[in-house]
Amino acid sequence: MSSKNIKSDWLYTITPKSNFFSINFKEIWQYRDLLLLFVRRDVITVYKQTILGPLWYLIQPMFTSITFTIIFNNLAGIETGAVPPFLFNLTGITIWNYFTSCFTGTSNTFGSNSAIFGKVYFPRIISPLSLVVSSLLKFGIQLVILIVFYIYFYSNGADISLNGWVILFPILIVMMGLLSLGLGMIISSMVTKYRDLNYLVGFGVQLLMYISAVVYPMALVEQKMPDFAWVVKYNPLAYIIETTRFMFLNVGELPFFGLIYTLIITIVILLIGLLLFNKTEKNFIDTV
């Protein structure tokens, strides 16, 4: 046998350097059961030995929403137009929670899984992917409470209506998921060596909320602080949140160019994330 013949027979090869984009989709597909089992683990273990269990998924956005309504609307006087402020905030918080849940989870992929990653191989991307999926389930539950309050306010005569674009809401969710996955993978790749980022993520996410138009409409920033409006305008998250409110509450306009911009940013960030993640997963166990 010549050595060339043998080479083509190898099932796979380990080398020090990885290809630029060596994502093995076939392998990820082979491990799909693992992904689902990780999702299952995440979901069933979160609230074990608690009395309220999954109700916590509902309580958390509700109380946040109440607090925000008191502070930002009643105290600070942010106007939400015809929409009840509570519903306005709850809509923003629900989709924002999906982002934070995906992002903070995936940004610590290597840290929280180092025990498993150090002992056995599977496509590492299964871990952040499973987090995105389990966050999606959590988001689904929180969406239910949003719908409950929506119906409540609607039947009490609030001037709200769904926009026809709402049928495209799933696309928005996928975009949000991929954006947070991309960001999370970038952070998780860097955090293995430079742990300072862990601290940054902790309060960074909190601060990010304030420039993501969660508790105010985007138009308000332009109107009140035109000099600093760019901070919000360049933030792709703001467009997703604004669009969500547009779809559910029929407020504002569809930020068409904003969404195109968000889509481009999402793709770029996702690619950078995949690239860094791929590069990191090979050796991170030596530096973590």
């Binding site: 099932l11 020090p16 060596k193």
Partner: protein
């Protein structure tokens, strides 16, 4: 000294030899010390060299991995230029001292981390068992964990479902299978975890010292399962262990690593001989560190191995009589003190223990002489263990590290019998009578 050979012949009936793992020039470099501010500087330097098209500056430096010597640079080669091939169906043991690079090699083979240079080719699906119970979650039940752990190890849900009854049965945890594993005893936990691993069916199985857990019964079961796996054929197993007896039992072929370098691949008995000869220092006199023991009631200061004419012997020719002198110091008046000399083989299997009569000692220095003038031990290395205890139970001194007795293979003949120099520990022959009946 070689036992357990009966399984060896069964494995090599395969048709053709096909290389299933090829390791080509593998090296792995690690950075010593803390990873901190220097990391960024080195990364930038590395990146700058890469842009200029230069070689990575840190790959040129680095020491061989000798744990005990002081390093001259901050980088160390945990593995250096390792080359070997493994054929389909081979069961290969990997041995070496602590820090020889065994675990690093397994990590590379399991794809947990990647090599600094070189290439590894695989011709089959790999499952690695560097630990049992990877990914077990305490809050989940035994059954849920079987699925999770199985999937982590590379099984599909369908595969696990088809085997789950066998797995539960093998683990012997049926009664607890729907209880969260955090309620398990540590033994049950390990049993369940190993049971999952035992039903993996990859073409290549990589096993670290996972068998060293659990109770004796379970270990026996686990070793038995490993033997089944190897006897069924077709499957390739790489197995790391410090337990030479298990290596001998399971692996016909063994690889020896020393200080991160490939030392030898060959028949297990030859490799183990080489390994043992590396770790044995032929000494006739052992001086013990008395600083630590000076506070004890009694402590051993020196051991010497001599022939009956009081000549120091670093090796005792087979058949020659020998004695061991142990010097010890008594610090305070002690009653009922006994001194013991134990002898084991290199795998710590006890061969014999000799105790002195209980005696009352006044403070002072003493010498105990143990004389071997009856039994003729076979050639090879043995370990000696010294113990001093008060009465039968209270151990005062116990030295069981690195005291070796070497019997050399000078020709020894006894009438009417043939000496096969590797047929056991004792050369003395039994009386044999043959008569026609």
């Amino acid at each position: 000294m070689i036992r357990f050979n009966k399984f060896k012949c069964l494995i090599y009936l395969e048709l053709e030899k096909e290389i299933i793992i090829k390791i080509h020039n593998i090296s792995k470099q690690y950075r010593l010390g803390q990873i901190g501010t220097g990391a960024l500087r080195h990364d930038l330097n590395r990146w700058w060299c890469k842009i200029q098209g230069k070689e990575d500056p840190y790959l040129k430096i680095g020491d061989t991995n000798d744990r005990s010597t002081k390093a001259t640079s901050n980088y160390v080669w945990a593995l250096k230029n390792i080359n070997f091939e493994v054929e389909r169906g081979e069961i290969v043991g990997i041995i070496g001292k602590n820090g020889a690079g065994k675990s690093t090699l397994l990590k590379l083979l399991s794809r947990v981390t990647s090599p600094t240079t070189g290439e590894i080719n695989f011709g089959g699906r790999v499952a690695s068992l560097l630990e049992v119970g990877t990914g077990f979650h305490g809050e989940m039940t035994g059954r849920e964990n079987i699925y999770l752990n199985g999937a982590i190890l590379g099984m599909t849900k369908k595969e696990i479902t088809s085997k789950i009854d066998e797995i539960i049965d093998f683990s012997g945890c049926e009664r607890y299978i729907d209880t969260p594993v955090k309620r398990y005893s540590s033994g049950m936990y390990v049993r369940l975890a190993f049971a999952v691993a035992a039903f993996l069916e990859p073409e290549i199985l990589i096993v670290d010292e996972v068998l060293a857990v659990g109770d004796a019964e379970f270990q026996k079961k686990a070793v038995g399962k490993m033997q089944d796996i190897s006897r069924e054929g077709g499957r390739t197993v790489l197995f790391v262990s410090h337990n030479m007896a298990v290596i001998q039992k399971l692996c016909p072929t063994t690889i020896l690593l020393s200080n991160g370098e490939f030392a030898m691949k060959g028949k297990t008995e030859d490799v183990i001989d080489l390994y043992l000869s590396q770790s044995v220092l032929n000494n006739s006199v052992y001086i013990f560190n008395t600083k630590v023991s000076a506070l004890k009631i009694a402590f051993v200061t020196k051991l010497s191995i001599l022939d009956l004419d009081d000549n120091l012997m670093s090796e005792i020719p087979i058949g020659k009589q020998w004695k061991v002198k142990i010097l010890f110091t008594i610090n305070e008046k002690a009653n009922n003190l006994i001194v013991g000399l134990g002898m084991t083989d290199m795998f710590d299997v006890p061969i014999r223990t000799t105790w002195t009569q209980p005696n009352n000692y006044e403070p002072g220095n003493y010498c105990a002489t143990f004389i071997e003038d009856k039994i003729k031990f076979n050639q090879g290395q043995y370990k000696l263990i010294i113990g001093i205890s008060k009465g039968a139970s209270q151990v005062i001194e116990y030295l069981d590290k690195d005291i070796f007795l070497t019997i050399s293979d000078a020709v020894y003949q006894q009438e009417n019998t043939i000496i096969n120099n590797k047929s056991g520990f004792i050369v003395d022959q039994m009386k044999v009578l043959i008569e026609q009946i």
